[in-house]
Amino acid sequence: MTNEITKKIGSIKFSCVSPEEIRKMSKIEIITADTYDDEGYPISRGLMDPHMGVIEPGLRCKTCGCKVDECPGHFGHIELAMPVIHVGFIKDIKMMLESTCSRCGRLMLSADQVKARRESMEKMEELGGGTIDLKNFSKETAKDASKGVVCPYCGATQVKIKLDKPTTFRLDNGDKSAKVAAGANKTSASSKLTPKEVRERLERIPDEDLRTLGMDPETCRPEWMVLTALAVPPVTVRPSITLDSGDRSEDDLTHKLVDVLRINQRLGENRDAGAPQLIVEDLWELLQYHVTTYFDNQTSGIPPARHRSGRPLKTLAQRLKGKEGRFRSNLSGKRVNFSARTVISPDPLLSINDVGVPIFAARELTVPLHVNARNIEQVRKIIRRGPMMDKMEFPYKPGANYVIRADGRRIRVTERNAFEVAENIDIDYVVERQLMEGDVVLFNRQPSLHRMSMMAHRIKIMEGKTFRFNLCDCPPYNADFDGDEMNLHVLQSDEARAEARILMQVQENILSPRYGGPIIGAIHDHITGAYYLTHGDTRFDRFQTSNILFKLPVRSASQRESAIPDDRAHSQKADSRDWSVEIPEPAGTDEKGEPYWTGKQLFSIILPEDFNATFKANICRNCREGCQKENCRYDAYVKIRNGNLECGTIDVRGIGNSKGRILDRIARDYGASRAAKFINQVTRLVLGALMNHGFSTGIGDEDIPEEAANQIFTYSQECIEKVAKNVESYRDGTLEAMPGRSLRETLEVNVMGILGDARDHAGEIAEKHLGMENPAVIMAKSGARGSMLNLSQMAGCVGQQAVRGERLSRGYHGRTLPHFERDDLGAYARGFCSNSYKTGLSPTEFFFHAMGGREGLVDTAVRTSRSGYMQRRLVSALEDLKLTSDGTVRNTVGTVIQFKYGEDGIDPSRTVGGKAIDLDDLFYEVLPEDEAEMLIHPTSSKAADGDDYATREKDEMEYTDPDESEGDEDGGDDYGDDGGE
């Protein structure tokens, strides 16, 4: 690397340009409105004059002599025949005209007032008041000053000034005194104040008074706001495009400048020729219009200037504004090289820290290698391989794409020159090497809503054409594999790589900073697998055990000491890569004398040896008669002692993302790499178990016996009848209104209650008959996927459809569909679906269901944009806050926002469910088990409740509101993904 001195920009000062300055920096005065002559060469002193830079290759700039891309462009200028007001400052000009004397130009405040104002301004600055506060203060000053009628300095009576939007000032000669002041010859009620007059007035304002008004006369004299010369931006800023047909198409700015020039010319001619006042004034106004739209084509009050096609022109303000404007699109958003994007797909055998990169991408992406005395031979070897663009199969070896010489010249490595280039490299050369296994890259999926949307992975070169990663990494990216694409960025410097590895690697992000829990963990099938492996008294013979463990490298007991084996030695630094386990001693022998292993035993293999934990699994039914603990009928009481799963079933509460207690504890107590190792092992172990068992679900899982179906049918009929009775009593007025509700509302509440109960009851019946052996039930109960609500809708009854939380009522006059009587308030007429998804909905039910479903879709569409904007505002407001070394949270100005972050200075991602320290854990560590339990018990049960409060609440809500879960969980996401990208 060359030893360049890197400069840092300390600050940026904004200021206005004076006409003199415009003329000074201008390389040429533009006088003709024409751009190119017949031969296609730019006309001298025209808008495309080569003094202002060049855009065509081959030509040279007449000012600096540089070619395209070297010449930065130079300003030109237009001498305006008559002064014109700058729209952007119109309000400020008005403020100044109002607050200063029309004759002497002094600020119309007494010397004492001015002094007081200046003093408080100084004080504000001293106390660190922001520019905005100062702005508001000077606004007030101006307001106070404009109240004066007579100038305290020269005694002139002031005439009120009116702003005729957008750019015309008028003297308001409404009252008599004003008329006198304006002079007898002007008889109209209000006379125009020309820009020239405005400028003259502004010129009179003394510097001192400007300071009082919050302006800096050094950087901006008010008369500069009335333009006498217009700066013409360099050609490079407004390049013309040559179309395929050979025609030229000019930039919008050029078009606008042509207009300005044309009118300017005519105005000048007419004025010099002594044309009637009226014509001159008209032209002057037209010039004002063109200059106004040149600055901002969305000024309110005037029609936007349009292109010939009718499209409004994109002038200066439009270039800067908004999402596609310069600021948000180009300045806040940077484009990068060394990135790749493709479809993603899953690979359960990768580590969570890995990402599988296709060879195609790996050959194209490069990492710079700095050549030094020690690596020169290795680098040569790489270069000799050339770019290898034809070797897209295994075995993969990295080649080189570019060599950058010490003087900064780039040489492309080709098949042909590879050997030659390799020989010529020297120290201080940089070689752009193709990706290789173990390189650190950033991996990202949009929308990047939180910091886990971009994490560092290590590369695995793979065949195929997709990026692949472990399924456990889906939740932080919010990714699925229905066609999602993701981006990959290759880091280019050692500093960046180090930082990424330490702060951004996946394993460092297992614990989410949003809540103190893991966001990466087992999902879906992993949880089903863990359930099958550990639930109840499962036993596996030698064959099965080997099958389950076969994805985990097995090491024998004798190898224990010499730990890390064989071929993975190159990556041994991260011990999360050593996945090997030992097969434990068999738990016992069966009747035939064959040894067997229990599922709990197999799971214990991957737990840290001194790991202890006690919690309730997701399948826990919160038995009313109190917890039986170890003797739990459902095997829901999980107890782990010294790395041994003594009882209980491992499900989502154990290893799942966001809820997994075991995961949480390992990540916290044993460190990130141990947690990564655990997740990697769990993935493999549990999938082994699932494959051993076999797992599938289908429509048959929702079969319920006829007797159950009948029960559901009779119950829903009963409920419908009850609804009918309610409606009846509503009609004859015997229905008792609830306090604070109208009769109709009461009816709706009652009916919703009854029908909700109908669905719940149907679900209960279905649940009873489906049994715990049912794969769908297992998925729901273990927390792998789906909920009991989904199941009861499939097997029992779909339930009431709702729009805006009410029964359906829209459509025809007084009815939802023509199939019903008018004003039928019964269950079926208002969107109750008594069928299940399995039995199939009736035509009317189907329609109602679609209505509810549509609401969900609309909801998601609206939600994404609303929440996106909210997050943008939040980030914009909070981005500058940081924790300083004294523990306070401050913004850029240094204002203290919090004296101690979060009142305790604790990092949320290091908390235990939001608490700084897990006392329960400490008790277990310090005290004997029984004493600890006694100490903990009262609090722990509560704590557990607190932890799960939110989730349970959600479950309950799902029960009361059927359509939510559908749109929310899957449907919405899938639709969003495909459309959004």
């Binding site: 000062k13 806050l881 926002i897």
Partner: protein, 345 residues
């Protein structure tokens, strides 16, 4: 152990909080919910409510209060009857709620016929109504019907139908009783005692009502809290409301993030909104403000007063292409090569 759990220096606490609040926003729903529990008061929930909170709106879409009652009043216990009485003190009762109005054209008068059951329920008498009506706009002649004692007669000064109609309009929504703004008050029995849940909010007045447990009155109108109880209370209200809204949606967000947002909003002694008119519009950096919203205006003003951007924040540095001043960008490593090369992490 505590120390190891503390936050690192230069951590971008703000961005973390913004992410933690913004990301769950995508998972929330847009609908308003009914209040959990017996009382069915409609309250905005979910994403709209969260947006409302960070916007610091003056009046929330559905203002609501929770008013716990004291256990004892004047030595007697607060039972349902007493509670109901207090509720009727709070809820706004309009004339039409308790009475019907008949127009007597022959005499050119309005006859107000109070519903006997309703007025006794509300604890009002015809005299109360009369006194109230006297204060109503454009109504002068109010008296109790000499024949039927309960009725009230309102006469106009001049016999014209127009006048009568005007009077009708003005008296029909006259407030007879209650606190302005509170359109409904519903009783609910909580474990601790009676609680009144309202639609509409008027903290200042409610606190004056006897029998209200002043310490625990809650309102979801944050600016009202700031006005009546001060900025610290407003901060706590912000935290409570935001946490509650997220919790209701089943989302778990660490309270520290919410606290940071609340602290930022209340930092100046009044409640600032998150957005153009609030915090983002008051940033010290021109570039940051220009990059957020209303680009041109900020730039022009900056030019006018000769503002200087010191490039201290995140956006500014990104714009000029420099490392930001947070996290690892906040520290500068100075590396003095010694004789032997040491490994740089």
């Amino acid at each position: 152990m505590y120390v190891s759990h503390t936050m690192d220096q230069n951590e971008s606490a703000g961005v973390m909080a913004a992410h933690s609040l913004g990301e769950p926003g995508t998972q929330m729903n847009m609908r308003t919910f009914h209040y959990a529990g017996v009382a069915n008061v409609n309250v905005t929930q979910g994403l709209p409510r969260l947006i409302e909170i960070v916007d610091a709106r003056r009046i929330p879409a559905t203002p609501s209060m929770e008013i716990p009652l004291v256990a004892e009043i004047d030595g007697g216990p607060v039972d349902e009857g007493v509670a109901r009485h207090i509720a009727s003190e709070i809820e706004v009762t309009t004339l039409l709620d308790v009475a019907s109005i008949q127009t007597n054209i022959t005499n050119m008068e309005l006859v107000i016929v109070p519903d006997a059951r309703k007025i006794s329920e509300k604890g009002i008498t015809s005299e109360d109504i009369r006194d109230r009506l006297k204060k109503a706009k454009g109504v002068r002649n109010v008296e109790i019907d000499p024949v039927k004692k309960i009725n009230i007669i309102v006469r106009s000064d001049e016999p014209s139908f127009k006048k009568l109609q005007q009077m009708y309009d003005s008296i029909k929504s006259t407030k007879i009783k209650g606190i302005d703004g509170i359109t409904r008050a519903v009783l609910s029995k909580e474990s601790g005692g009676w609680t009144i849940i309202t639609e509409g909010s008027n903290l200042r007045e409610v606190l004056k009502v006897r029998g209200v447990e002043v310490e625990n009155v809650m309102t979801n109108s944050i600016l009202e809290v700031a006005d009546v109880l001060g900025i610290e209370a407003a901060r706590n209200a912000l935290i409570r409301e935001a946490k509650g809204t997220l919790g209701e949606a089943g989302l778990n967000v660490d309270i520290r993030h919410i606290m940071l947002v609340a602290d930022l909003m209340t930092n100046d002694g009044y409640v600032k909104a998150i957005g153009r008119h609030g915090i983002s519009g008051k940033k010290s950096s021109v570039l940051a403000r220009a990059a957020f919203e209303i680009t041109a205006a900020h730039l022009l003003h900056a030019a006018m007063v000769g503002e200087v951007d010191h490039l201290e924040g995140v956006t500014e540095n990104i714009i000029v292409g420099q490392p930001v001043t947070l996290g690892t960008g906040a520290v500068n490593l100075e590396y003095k090569p010694k004789k032997r090369r040491t490994e740089e992490a």
